[in-house]
Amino acid sequence: MSFNKGKIIKRQVLAITLIFSLMLVVPLIAAVITPVSKVFNTEVVSASEKAEKKEAVEAVASKKEEGKEEGKKAEYPPAPKLKEKDYPKIKGYNSRISVWIVAQIHLFFAAFVLAVPIFVLVIEGVGIMTKDERYDHMAHEFIKVSMTAFSITATAGGILAFMLVSFYPDFMKYLAGIFGSVMIIYAMLFLAESVCLYVYYYGWDNMRYGNRKWAHLTVGLMLNVVGMTIMVLSNSWATFMMAPSGVDASGVFTGNVWEAIRGPLWNAVNLHRFIANIAYGGSVVGAYAAFKFLSAKSKEDRAHYDWMGYTANIIAISALLPLPFAGYWLTKEIYAYSQTMGITLMGGAFAWLFITQAVLIGALFLSANYYLWCGMERIKGSERYTKYIKYIAMVIVACFLVWFTPHTLIMTPMEQKAIGSQHHPLLGPFGLMPAKNTAVNIMILFTFLSFTLYKRSSKIATVSWLKQGVAAEIAIFAVGIANIVILGIYSYMVPSNIKVGMSVPQVFTTLSIIISVSIIESRLFKNSKSTGDIEWGKMPARSQYALILLAVSFTWLMGLMGYVRSAIRQHWHVNSIMRDSSPEAFTPTIGYAANIVSISTILFMLLVIFIFWLAQFAAKKQAEH
């Protein structure tokens, strides 16, 4: 027995060592084979240096291709220099607010309908693997919710296109001159997406078993491929407006549309939107499940929608955890492209919106955790872990407070005199990025801990090395967090470029902890005993409001940060190439912007309630007279 036990422990130690070694090998190989600046693009180049380099390259290129350039200039015009009279005025409409609200609603729905098929496909796949039909039914119900949303997305997109052409004809003409070919492909892809979606949804029951099921999965995959392509193509227009590429300084198109698509911010926006869409889609279907749970009459319905809400919450959290890192990468790319733009974003006019963002992200983390803690009530055996909840809550709240501590306070001269400077002597350092990076990493790790305890609640481990495994997990967790905190504190003592660079090992530490602890957990609870069935439906109503809060916070957050991303262009249609000369080309106050975003959020929520109601309405049959 002891021999076997020793053997098992040895095997576990070997497995863990192997995993850690493999994780170490990745950056090692990358360091050896890839030039540094190409991997992370961290080379901080000032705007003037960049301009000098660009000028030098352009001078050489222009000498060589003078003849060609002349030809191109004749073919492609420079960006038009517009005056106020060039913008049509339509009575009863404010062009900027109209386009803003419609674009925002279109994007809310687009994010939702692009995300749902991703996790529906995954859930359908899980249903096939586990042979549990419940997954299949749930996936079907998820996609049903997105069907009505799909037509609203297309309608809002149509209204947006008409508004853009009506209010900003010269800008749209210029954009179509560059992206015309892509726009046609984009429209065609809509047709392809409709075909895939309708076959996927209406063919669900017809292709439920056997080989047909695989054909159905393939259609689902195609739907996602088309959806993703639509997203990345439209992203390229937004990133072109922020950081134009494929054009010269006067806006003359070089003729290579791929150059225009593949701008410096394109991939960062693609990744950030992809992850955010999944989190967002998860939260909206979570709100649907909560709505159905609260209005359910039977025990079975409550159990079903409780399970659906739980799955949706897991989807939302899983995507929420890596989201700050994708956001960090995007911001880093914005700084690398233009320091001025980066400073406008985080240190200038928009900085206070990041404080609002921090409050909303804190609300997201707290409500997602709160839902998990409430969910432990439905599991027999969870009492073993409930005592830890208060400590997790304390850590998350502490991190939340650091996360939204502003760097610069808006103070009266008297207040400033009382504090002694613009920054608070004790809390001032919390306003800087090293503290915020540290806080967000710890917040993510403790949310992961909540999830781990939730998963454990219904299980009793039977492996002989349980205590050693748990001890190893605690050690990894403790050392990892110490590493994150030490790097965070140490960041204050080094030059700025090193400070920025230290966020990368912090993130890698978080990922390492999550991966290694997940692997140890899965081995610890292999062949575990169950504490009894999970009592689905045994959830307090307040937990469902946490799910609804999650969806509202996500929507609001998306609207606010989407506005910031777009508005850092300031008075430019296309940054530094095509000036916006319309009367509305000003940067509004934070309150004004927040009001417009709030109106968009309320409108979206009203439409979502309509969709939820419609799903319920369509399911009922009229009683015979």
Partner: protein
């Protein structure tokens, strides 16, 4: 006796993971900084 042995195994695993992950995270810090063309210990 048996209890002592178990305790020993538990603390052994704890310290092994403590030292192992400590070395791992330190190497990761150094490598990832190097990968970015930076150093963890500037002069």
């Amino acid at each position: 006796m048996v209890g002592e042995r178990r305790g020993g195994m538990k603390s052994g695993a704890f310290f092994a993971a403590l030292v192992g992950s400590g070395i791992y995270f330190f190497l990761v810090d150094v490598l990832l900084m190097k990968l970015q063309g930076l150093t963890l210990f500037p002069k």
